[in-house]
């Protein structure tokens, strides 16, 4: 069991940036009205913010990071580590974190690293960055997490396109001697790698003359091999069993009283799945904020985006015990528990 307790690091602030462009699920062209009604009722997703052509995840993260650095009054020269968590990088290579180091004006003496994970990525990224910092040799660092999943989905695939929104986030970590830090449980089951996959375009199945050919998979599901394919049933089954399991594992391992947690942030998959998870864990609704109605599933951005859009006031004005749990593509999952004290949270940022 992969548990971690990383001390001497605290979360100082979090910011999120979303595209200004909104797509209403009621306007979906390739679905009938009753189908749309059922979809919205089950998934809880009414609209999504999606990027215009040419905008990358890094652009959204950059804007969020600039604002957060500004409000934290951090000097960019002091930032010594940057991690970018995404599955929609600017290029196959170089790593997007290198481009972001330059665009943010961070010193060359700065660790920069990409992590390729989706829904579990925020928690994994937090564990990696906090690990770098725990001895105090690095004092300030940024975790950038997000995706532009709308660009990976076929518009003619009702099993993916209506679910995913785009967002970029930034989380600021700082060394703080004596702080209790972060407690983690992390895991992975690669036997489920086919449940969420883009088949072509990597090096197992390089882009070829057939990659762009669209085929009808089922009614309402047409896509090419460069599009995201999602086995909704497998992912649902995984989510409702694994999310409660990893949360309970963390609570047990560190002897954490569930009642003392103020907010439980779950990856925003869909309402039906998130409600199942909440009910299995016997959590009251007011402790489990949801943001998927407005933004859909935003991959690794979903946890920080929910913190910013649903609970900014509570997180910025006091001390809260927080638990966050991400689960999805990989299949991969991670849960973290920490104390959030007077966070700096800029207002939600829009990207034109």
């Amino acid at each position: 069991m992969a548990f971690l307790h990383i001390k001497n690091v605290v979360l100082r602030g979090v910011a999120a940036c979303i595209p200004a462009r909104v797509e209403e699920n009621t306007d979906l062209a390739h679905m009938t009205a009753p189908d749309i009604e059922k979809l919205v009722a089950t998934t809880g997703i009414e609209r999504r913010h999606i990027v215009n052509t040419g905008t990358c995840t890094s652009d959204l993260c950059l804007k969020a990071a600039e604002q957060l650095i500004n409000e934290l009054k951090w000097d960019t020269k002091e930032i010594e580590a940057l991690i970018f968590v995404s599955q929609t990088p600017d290029y196959i290579l170089p790593a997007t974190s290198c481009l972001l180091q330059d665009r943010l004006g961070l010193p060359a003496d700065c660790i920069s690293l990409d992590i390729s994970l989706g829904c579990s990525g925020f928690v994994y990224g937090l564990s990696t960055l906090a690990s770098y910092m725990q001895t105090g040799m690095i004092k300030k660092a940024l975790l950038l997490a997000g995706d532009t999943s709308s660009l990976t989905c076929s518009k003619k695939d009702k099993s993916t396109y209506p679910l995913f929104g785009d967002a970029g986030t930034v989380t600021a970590l700082e060394f703080s001697e004596g702080a209790d830090g972060f407690k983690f449980h992390l895991g992975c089951d690669g036997s489920g790698s086919n449940a969420i996959i883009i088949n072509d375009g990597g090096y197992r199945n390089p882009f070829n003359s057939e990659s762009l050919t669209t085929s009808d998979i089922a009614e309402g599901i047409s896509r090419s091999k460069l599009h995201l394919a999602l086995d909704g049933m497998d992912v649902f089954s995984f989510g409702i069993s694994m999310a409660p399991e990893t949360v309970n594992a963390l609570l047990r391992r560190f002897n954490i009283d569930k009642e003392k947690i103020d907010f439980f942030y779950f990856h925003q998959a869909n309402k039906m799945m998130n409600e199942r998870i909440r009910k299995k864990l016997l959590l009251p609704e007011h402790k489990v904020p949801l943001s998927l109605r407005q933004f859909g599933n935003t991959s690794s951005a979903s946890i920080p985006l929910t913190m910013v859009t649903q609970t900014a006031k509570a997180l910025s004005s006091g001390e809260n015990e927080v638990l966050a749990c991400g689960f999805g593509v990989g299949l991969s999952w991670g849960t973290v528990c920490f104390t959030a004290k007077y966070l700096t949270i800029p207002e939600l940022i829009y990207y034109d």
Partner: protein
């Protein structure tokens, strides 16, 4: 677990179909109401009542309620 109870629990996941119209031999995808959403409800019911993880393939390869019942039964025993 027994088939009769399972059929009832299965039937409860449908809104419009009358519960007494279901039996073990019902071809559950062969009606107007069946959709990918119903499939998720079935998966959730099996998780909750039997602690068993149904996969997408389990649902895809099954035709009748008894087919699903046998999968759940086998998984619950192992």
């Amino acid at each position: 677990m027994n088939l009769e109870t399972f059929v009832q629990e299965f039937a409860e996941q449908f809104d419009e179909m009358p519960a007494d119209s279901f039996s073990g031999s019902t071809q559950f995808k062969n009606n107007e109401e069946w959709s990918s959403m119903t499939a998720l409800l079935i998966i959730a019911m099996v998780d909750q009542n039997y602690g068993v993880k149904l996969t997408g393939d389990d649902v895809r390869k099954s035709t009748t309620i008894a087919d699903i019942y046998h999968i759940v039964h086998t998984k619950a025993m192992s």
